[in-house]
């Protein structure tokens, strides 16, 4: 039992893990917690105990929790139905999760859907809201690199349209489960190989399945080092994505959300296309989005 007295608790609950922050009313983080009890590991009944494992020590009487992410999916704790684009970035229709603990109230932020081309997001909408909190009146394209990278058109405080690419998942599958897994097994990184893969992917995206096999053949025939093969694989996949996402980023103001190396690669790749992008750290953004949602809830 810690000695803090949070006014509310922010939770980012994804597929593979969850993070929680004990918050003061003025937006100060009083404590942080995390667990690997992601949505995919839990049945609906297991969400409340999994949450209490992390936030229990912070609770001192009635407690309000605001959560975003896959916790609100059909397989999650409570389904928070998608809002359809175009829709305001800041929405007020939260879903309330069923709780047995009398003092606990959990509100879940809904995701956003697009009917055609069919697309969905859960969690990213809160990052987008957070980014707009920190950058009021911002118009342009927000790119959120990850397992399922999203390109989002934001204008006049609304999400206009978006498109998701499975690029990150393809990279993981190919690196870990394909015939290429030995060819790309390296902790090093070859920036020049990334650049050449990126250029090839953008120039001839249709050749992706052939370029992939070439990585293996280049290793067999010409001794392509694993660090170069891995970086080239990433470049090929991101280049193919950038070729398709061009209608999103061409001539637009661009923000790339994410602190890690992957987001940096997107920024560098866009810079090489004369499309300067601002890189923004993800953690503070998520918390800003949850905080804005809490203010609307209390509003």
């Amino acid at each position: 039992m810690t000695d803090i007295q949070p006014d509310w608790i922010a939770v980012d609950w994804g597929t593979t893990n969850m993070r929680a922050w004990a918050m003061s009313g003025s937006g100060t983080v009083l404590a942080e917690g995390a667990s690997d009890n992601g949505m995919s590991k839990l049945t609906p009944e297991q969400f409340e105990p999994a949450l209490l494992d992390v936030i229990g020590p912070w609770m001192q009487g009635p407690t309000t929790v605001l959560a975003c992410g896959m916790v609100g999916s059909r397989q999650g704790w409570v389904e928070a139905p998608y809002a359809a684009v175009p829709c305001p970035v800041a929405r007020e229709a939260f879903a309330q999760a069923p709780c047995k603990t009398p003092d606990l109230t959990v509100h879940v932020i809904p995701g956003i859907k697009q009917e055609s081309p069919a697309d969905v997001m859960r969690g990213e909408e809160t990052q987008i809201a957070g980014f707009l909190e920190l950058n009021p009146k911002w118009d342009g394209i927000i790119c959120l690199p990850g397992t399922h990278t999203k390109w989002v058109h934001v204008s006049a405080d609304e999400v206009v349209s978006f498109q998701t690419f499975m690029t990150g998942e393809l990279f993981a599958l190919l690196s870990q489960h394909s015939v290429l897994r030995h060819s790309v097994a390296s902790d090093d990184w070859d920036g020049a190989a990334f650049d050449s893969g990126l250029a090839d992917g953008m120039a001839r995206p249709e050749r992706i399945a052939a370029r992939l096999f070439s990585l293996r053949a280049e290793g067999l025939l010409h001794g392509l080092p694993a660090a170069a093969a891995k970086a080239r694989l990433s470049g090929l996949l991101i280049g193919t994505e950038l070729a398709a996402a061009k209608p999103y980023w061409l001539g637009q103001q661009i923000a790339v959300i994410g602190a890690g190396g992957l987001s940096k690669r997107y920024v560098d790749a866009l810079a090489a296309q004369s499309a300067p992008a601002t890189q923004v750290k993800g953690d503070a953004i998520t918390l800003a989005g949850l905080t804005a949602a809490y203010r609307r809830l209390k509003g």
Copy 2:
């Protein structure tokens, strides 16, 4: 111990399994055998016992074996160095595997490589040779659908060039290990969904990573049935491949080798592009290629 007296034994030894045929000198199959001791499961010392498990009962004195496939790779029984394109379909440089059994002689057919764009094949060269045995003086494009689909330009009894696409492996990875695995879990097939995926893949191949995520979103938002999602996934991947392989197949005589449904899909897809292709059964082709190699060996 069976009562047959083969003149030689044909072996097709791939990554995941091996098949063997006891052959008469006139080319009749006297017996067949198979095992799941593929190259990937064996250390170099284990190949000979694995072979004897299958062909031992057929041996009556000195025995000549002719083998093709991954058995001749660096990780196989004996490395049979690649011939470089352009090269004759029918070559005579076999590698001899080290054997402890005095009466056993095992010759391994080398694969074919292409320096640039880097590419390799092992096993398919024997199918190509078999096809040319059955279709003398044939010129055109041979497509060999599979885990790693190959497009091969054959002219004047030579392999001129080729290109390998990881399309089949991508389909398997996405069907079994990705976020799409539940969306596409079906034993049924939706031909119309395949056709529409094929058309989309050919028309905008760069969008492949976005189209993949759309399969999931279509399931969530619009209840896309699994049989349709699976067929559409296959169509998208094959369509993307056909877009890239167009310089191979456009305006050419085409043969697609393989008896199964996958090869039929390629034939249908090409027909939809006004590129008629002949479908040829794979088993007889492999055996014809091994038989032709045996004749050259006995020269």
